[in-house]
Every structure is written in structure tokens, then in C-alpha cells.
């Protein structure tokens, strides 16, 4: 004979302080959400940010002039240099990737990327421990996709 299932005890109600908080949160949250989604909030945030940027760039301009008087580079010069190095790094990276793709395409004759290749020089790949130094070698296909793409 099976025992009837024991009646389920309802979960304990949250403490009073929590109930009070939840009630307050329910009252405040929709208003706060309406406020941050209003046009005025967006405009005010944008204006504030613009003011901060103008103030920041003015201070930066003054301090840069001071450093330049002493014939020393300012922070803005370093930022410009970093941006130039970054741009160069990006170019090399893109060329390396396109070169890799060309190499793979040559070894597998699988058309993939529709981008035109601009790389005409060979670049050493930068620090890829997982890849053989003489370029990626393809392994023979063990299984084929049975469905053409787009089906």
C-alpha cells in the first residue's frame, strides 16, 4: 500500500524588509526606466559628454603646449603614435590573414572568401604556436558534407 504524498509546504514568505523593498522597487523601477528611455535623457547625456570632451581637450591642448615648450612629447603625441602603430599592425594582420587564405586555397583549391586579395609580399606569421612554421598544412578530407550549402 502506497502512502499518500505528503502535502507540499509552501515556500516561506520573504522577510518583511524584503517585501517593503520589493514594493518600493515596483513603484520606482518603471519611472526610472521611462526616464532613461526618454529623449531628454539621451540629449542630456550627449550634451554632458560633449561638454566633458570639450573641457578635456582644452586641458589637453594647454598641457600639450606646455610640454612642447620644453621640447617634450605630450600625451596626445603618444596617443597619435599609438594610433599609427595600431593602424600599421592592422594592415600587417590583414595581409597575413589574406596570405594564409590564399595559401590554403592553393593547397585545397576550395573557394571560400570572396574578398579580393591585395597581398603581394610574403610576411612571417606573428607568433602562432599552434600552427606549423612553414604554413598551414591541410589534412586529407575524411568526411564530406553531404548537403550543398544553401539547401
Amino acid at each position: 500500500m502506497t502512502q499518500p504524498p505528503a502535502p507540499r509546504t509552501p515556500p516561506p514568505s520573504p522577510p518583511l524588509w524584503r517585501q517593503a523593498f520589493d514594493a518600493a522597487e515596483r513603484a520606482v523601477a518603471p519611472r526610472a526606466e521611462d526616464l532613461v528611455r526618454s529623449e531628454y535623457f539621451s540629449l542630456a547625456t550627449a550634451l554632458l559628454r560633449r561638454a566633458q570632451t570639450v573641457a578635456g581637450s582644452s586641458v589637453q591642448g594647454v598641457s600639450a603646449r606646455a610640454w612642447h615648450l620644453l621640447n617634450l612629447p605630450a600625451g596626445s603625441d603618444i596617443s597619435r603614435l599609438r594610433a599609427q602603430i595600431g593602424s600599421l599592425d592592422r594592415e600587417v594582420r590583414r595581409l597575413t590573414i589574406q596570405l594564409e587564405q590564399e595559401r590554403r586555397r592553393g593547397s585545397t583549391s576550395r573557394p571560400h572568401s570572396s574578398r579580393p586579395t591585395t597581398a603581394t609580399t610574403t610576411e612571417d606569421s606573428d607568433a602562432d604556436g599552434a600552427q606549423p612554421p612553414d604554413g598551414a598544412r591541410s589534412r586529407p578530407a575524411r568526411r564530406r558534407a553531404q548537403r550543398p550549402s544553401g539547401s
Binding site: P14, P15, R18, E25, V28, A29, E33, L35, V36, R37, E39, S42, L43, A44, T45, A46, L47, R49, R50, Q52, T53, G75, S79, R82, A83, I85, G86, S87, D89, R90, R94, I97, Q98, E100, Q101, R104, T108, R110, P111, H112, S113, S114, R115, D126, A127, D128, G129, A130, Q131, A136, R139, P140, A141, R142, R143, A145, Q146, R147, S149, G150
Partner: protein, 365 residues
């Protein structure tokens, strides 16, 4: 009455202990622990291959492999949060060969990266490497959050892409509904240049503040709930892992941010069919591969209205939508993910995959 007093005393003792642990930052749960290898790297971008160990996960039993394209503003360990609560782990258990394209932490060298760099260079290069390593001719592509947008742009810009299927999770397309973060650019007319850091990227703090502004009182509620449940070790472990992730963003490359603000936010390019990648016009309707979009109706990071139009924009004849009663993180971690999201995704992909024979499985392992 005595029991209640005793319980409160015990709980306060546990609160004190867990509070000290939280403040000291000790005993943090290990995240992203599924064994993996870096199989390709360029710049800060890495391609990870998760080991599908036959003894642990049963080995690779389905092909083609899965490639996950992660978001550009957050850390990818959310998909491999903790052992037993990992999206990646479930995919491995289901017999898939799983790869992840992780963008790393952009710095000044990435400030000039536009969407084109990711869509036309990194994703194709990552896919080529996956095909090369696996010997397959196609991949099942996954995109998470903004990674879903990159995957959509890739699939649309490369109609000849070797894709078996495309699945996107919590992927916004109607950026008018992305809340205050989008409004300040679209309505307020703010220039992206005014939020860039010295390294030329959008700092993580701006992204975090933008997401927090979506639910202004959530931050207070979070701490109140933490205080209430601070005695519970499981809750504290989960809190550390989840909030650790939601506060832990990465810089957004400046050039990509400018393009996003102009093309996706101001022009609402995905919905209004005004997309350009690398100078080419791109149409989501050109995506013809089997397609699944998974979205959450309680998502406070990517609101449901932002994800809803996607299913109608994609041209695939075989397209499906799964809308779950979950939040943004709940799509990939926690009970809803384990019981509904991941099994549905696995079912969708498995139906469009091929079982591998035992020889292949052994060789793969």
C-alpha cells in the same frame, strides 16, 4: 520561535563568512574550464578547439564541426561558465566537435578594426582553419549576441560560405530598441569619438553603464538579493560567476563602434536593409542556409523587441525561431538553458548534421 532565532543566527554567521570571502575575492568558482587548445591566432583573436575526450564526453559523433562566433563586448567564458553549467560542455556531450572564435581583449592595435575585419577576414580565416583541422567541407556556425550580428553579416556577404547551418542566440537586429545606449547615439546625436578612450576603443565601463541603464534599479536589487541569500553557498558561487561575467566587459574597437553606431543604430541597417560590408551592399535576405534564432523574452541586455524581426529578415527557406521565457544569461547558463535552449539547438543542428562512423570518431578523438 526558538528555531527561527537559531536559524537567523546560523544564517548571519554564514553571511559573515561568505561576505568576507566575497570581499576578499577568494574561493571564486573556476570559469571556462573545459579543456581546449588554441589552434589559430592572429592579433588578439584566437580560435579554440575544445577537446571532445571519448572517456569524458563520448567523442565526436556528428559532423560537420560547430564554430561559435562570440560577442565583441564581453568575455566568452559565459558559454563555458562552470563544470556542469556549461553550454560548450553540453555540445561536447551531444557528440559535436566544438570550436570558438574569441576576440580577446582589444587594445590600441585594434582601434582601426572595422566590422569588415571581422566579417571578411577573421571569420573566414577561422572557418578555413576549422575545415583544415577537421577535414570537413562545411561548418555549423553559431553566433552569440553581437557575435550573431557578425555571423549574419558574414553569411550575407559570403553566399558561397561553407555553412551547413546558422544559429544565432540573443542577436539584436532592431537597434532602435536597444535602450539608452543606442538612444544617445540615435536620438541624442552623440558622436562615438566622444566616448573613445586614449587607445581609440570604447572602454568597457561605457558598455557596462549602457547595459546597466536599461534597468536602472537592477543594481540595487542585485545587492539586496545578495544580502538576503548571502548565507547560501550555492547562490554565492552562482552570483560570483554570473555577476563576475556581467561586470567583466572588454573594449569595443573604435572603428567597429563607429560603424555600429552609424549603420546599425542610426540607419537601423539590419531592419531597413541598409547594410554595407567592405564597400559591398549586403542583404540578410541573401542568407539561404538552414537558420535558427534563439531569443529570450526577459532579456534586459538585448530586449525582445530588438531580436524579434530577425526571423522575417533572413531569406532561408528552412528557418526557425525559439523564444524562451528567460533572461540574457539564462539562454546559455542555468536550468532553462540545460533543459530547453541547448537541447533545442542540439536537435536543430543534429538534424542537419551527419553521424560519423566509428572509425572517424576514433580518429577524431
Amino acid at each position: 520561535m526558538l528555531d527561527r532565532v537559531r536559524r537567523d543566527v546560523e544564517r548571519n554567521a554564514l553571511r559573515a563568512r561568505n561576505g568576507i570571502k566575497l570581499v576578499a575575492g577568494v574561493d571564486r568558482p573556476g570559469v571556462g574550464q573545459t579543456p581546449k587548445d588554441v589552434v589559430w591566432q592572429r592579433g588578439r583573436t584566437q580560435l579554440w578547439h575544445y577537446r571532445n575526450d571519448p572517456d569524458t564526453y563520448g567523442g565526436v559523433r556528428y559532423g560537420p564541426p560547430l564554430l561559435i562566433v562570440f560577442s565583441m563586448v564581453s568575455r566568452s567564458y559565459i558559454l563555458d561558465l562552470t563544470p556542469g553549467n556549461s553550454f560548450v560542455e553540453q555540445l561536447l556531450n551531444a557528440g559535436f566537435d566544438v570550436y570558438m572564435l574569441d576576440w580577446g581583449e582589444p587594445d590600441e592595435r585594434d582601434a582601426g578594426n572595422g566590422l569588415e575585419d571581422y566579417v571578411d577576414d577573421y571569420i573566414p580565416a577561422g572557418i578555413d582553419r576549422v575545415l583544415e583541422l577537421s577535414g570537413a567541407d562545411e561548418v555549423n556556425l553559431f553566433g552569440y549576441c553581437f557575435g550573431g550580428d557578425l555571423a549574419l553579416l558574414y553569411a550575407a556577404h559570403h553566399p558561397d560560405a561553407p555553412l551547413r547551418s546558422l544559429t544565432v542566440l540573443a542577436t539584436p537586429v532592431d537597434f532602435r530598441h536597444m535602450g539608452p545606449l543606442a538612444d544617445i547615439f540615435a536620438v541624442g546625436g552623440m558622436d562615438v569619438g566622444s566616448v573613445l578612450d586614449a587607445d581609440g576603443n570604447v572602454p568597457p565601463s561605457v558598455v557596462v553603464q549602457g547595459f546597466r541603464a536599461l534597468t536602472p534599479t537592477a543594481e540595487v536589487t542585485r545587492y539586496v538579493t545578495l544580502w538576503e541569500r548571502l548565507w547560501n553557498d550555492d547562490y554565492v558561487a552562482s552570483y560570483q560567476a554570473m555577476t563576475g561575467w556581467s561586470d567583466d566587459h572588454v573594449p569595443f574597437p573604435g572603428a567597429a563602434a563607429r560603424e555600429t553606431a552609424e549603420m546599425l543604430v542610426r540607419n537601423n541597417g539590419m531592419v531597413d536593409d541598409r547594410l554595407t560590408v567592405g564597400g559591398d551592399r549586403v542583404h540578410l535576405s541573401d542568407i539561404q542556409v538552414p537558420f535558427l534564432t534563439v531569443r529570450a523574452n526577459r532579456d534586459h541586455i538585448v530586449p525582445p523587441d530588438a531580436t524579434a524581426p530577425l526571423i522575417d529578415l533572413v531569406g532561408s527557406p528552412d528557418k526557425h525561431e525559439l523564444c524562451l521565457d528567460a533572461g540574457h544569461m539564462g539562454l546559455v547558463v542555468g536550468r532553462t538553458a540545460a533543459k530547453t535552449t541547448v537541447p533545442t539547438i542540439i536537435d536543430f543542428v543534429r538534424r542537419r548534421s551527419d553521424p560519423l562512423d566509428a572509425d572517424d570518431t576514433r580518429e577524431e578523438a
